[in-house]
Symmetry: C2
Subunit: 230 residues, 2 copies
């Protein structure tokens, strides 16, 4: 199950790395597709696929007849390409830092704007989480993510939604890693569930400030739990 990688993926990763390392500094011209193809020993096809990924990520831009150039403000990395390893505590810390910034505000906005349908969606997610928590085996990470996701959706801010969505894959993996070895969790399950219920209640009552506070509390407790790991 070695998940064989596509050639174009390998190449886009390689090229991105070269750009990050400074082999192709911002503003510089990349080699032509033919040259890259020769260099990597492949045809133009996977080269073009790789370049199109970098283009979509805003790392390079190409002009027909001109060539491909590294963008002046090349995004530092493709979020989809971040791989969290078990020992990769830095990424998890940074991710949690962003959660502490985004989620309380999202809860605030959700309390302001949520539609009845969105409230229903949150309640469904919470019920799912409750079911998962009664089962000793399950961790409920998916339900957890779905709950937080439903709150984000209720903010009605497409940019906020996009940011969280682009983080979700990363978030999911980070959550699994942090929850997996955590035996303390079982004792904290009821407390965690209560925290989720409190957030939802505040959103239901349309109390933005309260929702924000409940979210802060939840994240603070989650962080305590997290700090035991590191």
């Amino acid at each position: 199950m070695a998940e064989k990688e596509k050639i174009s993926q390998t190449i886009s990763r390689e090229l991105l790395n070269m750009i990050e390392v400074g082999k192709f500094p911002p503003g510089s011209k990349l080699p032509t597709e033919m040259e890259l193809a020769a260099h990597f020993g492949v045809s133009r096809i996977p080269i073009r696929e790789a370049l199109s990924v970098l283009r979509a990520a805003g790392v390079i831009s190409s002009r027909q007849g001109g060539g491909s150039y590294v963008e002046e403000r090349a995004a530092t990395f493709l979020l989809h390409q971040i791989r969290i390893e078990n020992d990769d505590k830095e990424v998890i810390k940074h991710l949690f830092e962003m959660r502490k910034i985004l989620e309380p505000e999202a809860a605030y906005l959700a309390a302001l704007r949520r539609t009845p349908e969105q409230l229903e969606q949150m309640e469904q997610a919470l019920k799912w989480l409750e079911r998962e928590f009664t089962d000793e085996e399950k961790m409920g990470t998916e339900a957890d993510i779905e709950f937080h996701r439903s709150i984000i959706l209720a903010t009605q801010n497409p940019i906020m939604i996009h940011m969280i969505e682009s983080l979700s894959a990363l978030y999911e993996r980070a959550l699994k890693i942090t929850l997996e070895p955590n035996l303390v969790l079982k004792q904290r399950r009821k407390a965690a569930l209560k925290e989720h219920q409190d957030i939802l209640l505040a959103i239901k009552m349309e109390e933005p400030e309260l929702a924000k506070i409940q979210s802060v509390i939840h994240l603070k407790n989650a962080e305590k739990k997290l700090s035991l790991l590191f």
Copy 2:
């Protein structure tokens, strides 16, 4: 200067729209590349380019021999593809909402962690902004962005950095639109400059809370200015 669009771009936009509209719901299988090619009346090449963009954005996933499927949690849109039109006030509002959430926290973190080099970078950007402001003609949008960007970089959080970078193109355009017709700005220039200096000073003194407050003040004033437009 009509900026002719590539076929693959047109198609990726079309496909994305179809997905958003529900023509291809999450989890469903897309038509084969051959079918798509026939449908759009092009060869497989631009189809593959379009699909690779959607793949990079996490909207779809493909398996050799299997086909392409819409991801269960397809990102709602590609940030790079958002076009802000002059009458597109909604996007600008949402963008500003995100700035209010992210930037004060970024200033906080920057005050905590900035290296001397990063402080230097911020000061350079501020000087640039001062020069631009003395010139009646120039608006200083680029310098403005560079200043805020230098603060973000000093947070040392790669996820934060990535988020802002991915927003920067959008931000730049929004800023130009909001500043362009604003004649009041000239009177507010000194005030705005002072606000920037205050933020930098707090970061220089390594006073996180103060930096956050100064950032909030700055954004509050900017929002007042903005509210005149809408």
